[in-house]
Symmetry: C2
Subunit: 191 residues, 2 copies
């Protein structure tokens, strides 16, 4: 299996942008082809189907999250630091590849039945690992004891809206953004 062609990468990239903007169902192959600069039919020299585009975007981005979580799990640092790194990574993903993250978050439900099962398995595994990180942090006294699921989803969802909110050109650097979100989640808002 050779390296993926540049044209296919372009198709996936433009597709992610359009899916974010208009949704998977709201984006036609002709819309997409126009952005890519070729005819709709010509895209089928590079991709198998519209479904395949969605799959590659979802699983491509998903894999990046998995890899980073594994990497951080492996490191010999304390749990608050691990959580900070994960938060910073989520922010970075959104800033560097926000369109793909948006598709991952919003359009996975249009995956075919079997791919959707596969996707959910991947996502469940990710959440389980992330939850374990919180749980161990609690057990070692770094975090307050609380419902792990609620803590997990409160954190993940707080990170999610960065994608809806962040616009390049706002007067907030990604470092400040990650720092303030970390601060609020770690220390709360109460003075």
């Amino acid at each position: 299996m050779k390296t993926r062609s540049a044209k296919k990468d372009l198709i996936l990239q433009e597709a992610a942008k359009l899916f974010r903007e208009k949704g998977f169902g709201g984006t036609s192959m002709r819309d997409l082809a126009e952005k890519v600069g070729i005819e709709a039919a010509s895209m089928y020299n590079h991709i198998r189907s519209k479904d395949e585009i969605l799959e590659e975007i979802c699983f491509g981005a998903g894999r990046k999250y998995d890899e980073q979580l594994s990497e951080i799990e492996r490191q010999d640092i304390n749990y608050p630091r691990k959580l900070e790194l994960m938060i910073a990574f989520h922010v970075q993903m959104i800033i560097e590849d926000g369109a793909a993250v948006s598709v991952l978050n919003n359009d996975w439900k249009f995956l075919s039945a079997e791919k959707m099962t596969e996707f959910k398995t991947m996502r469940n595994a990710y959440e389980k690992h992330f939850a374990a990180l919180l749980k161990q942090g609690m057990e070692q006294g770094f975090f307050k004891p609380m419902n792990v699921s609620i803590a997990l989803f409160t954190i993940l969802s707080a990170l999610r809206w960065v994608e809806l909110w962040y616009k390049p050109g706002r007067n907030v650097s990604k470092e400040d953004l990650a720092k303030d979100i970390s601060a609020l989640l770690m220390n709360g808002i109460k003075a």
Copy 2:
């Protein structure tokens, strides 16, 4: 203007459920008609268009948020308490009318150009009022001084994923859910 017919309410309710499940573009009028129990064409005796359905769901739910925020602004209680009430209200909305909340959050981008402008205006006003609540809480020393926008969106987004995650029948009551989310956002996770 008389009261809205029961059939129209049924259409809106079933539409919200389908839009949540398959998206606005992914839901056909024939899908919807089947859930309602009549033919697609018959629905046009009750609604003007598919777009109108989306509008009524988005603005209907939006109005509820506006009203509750105004109500809480009016009350003579301190800012941490106001924030707690808003958090509890968001949780309640999701539990009581999760489908409409999902449409409000995810499908507003399929509104017609003019309705979308109107929607954004409504949403901006809501966010501005909510932000003012946080800002005043900071100025009075109840909350830590921090970037108000980031605090606002961290909180709103943390609440948003409740809709994606909450399933009736999980062993978490809506009171516990609101309490734990409040606790994490107000006091942080760090021990």
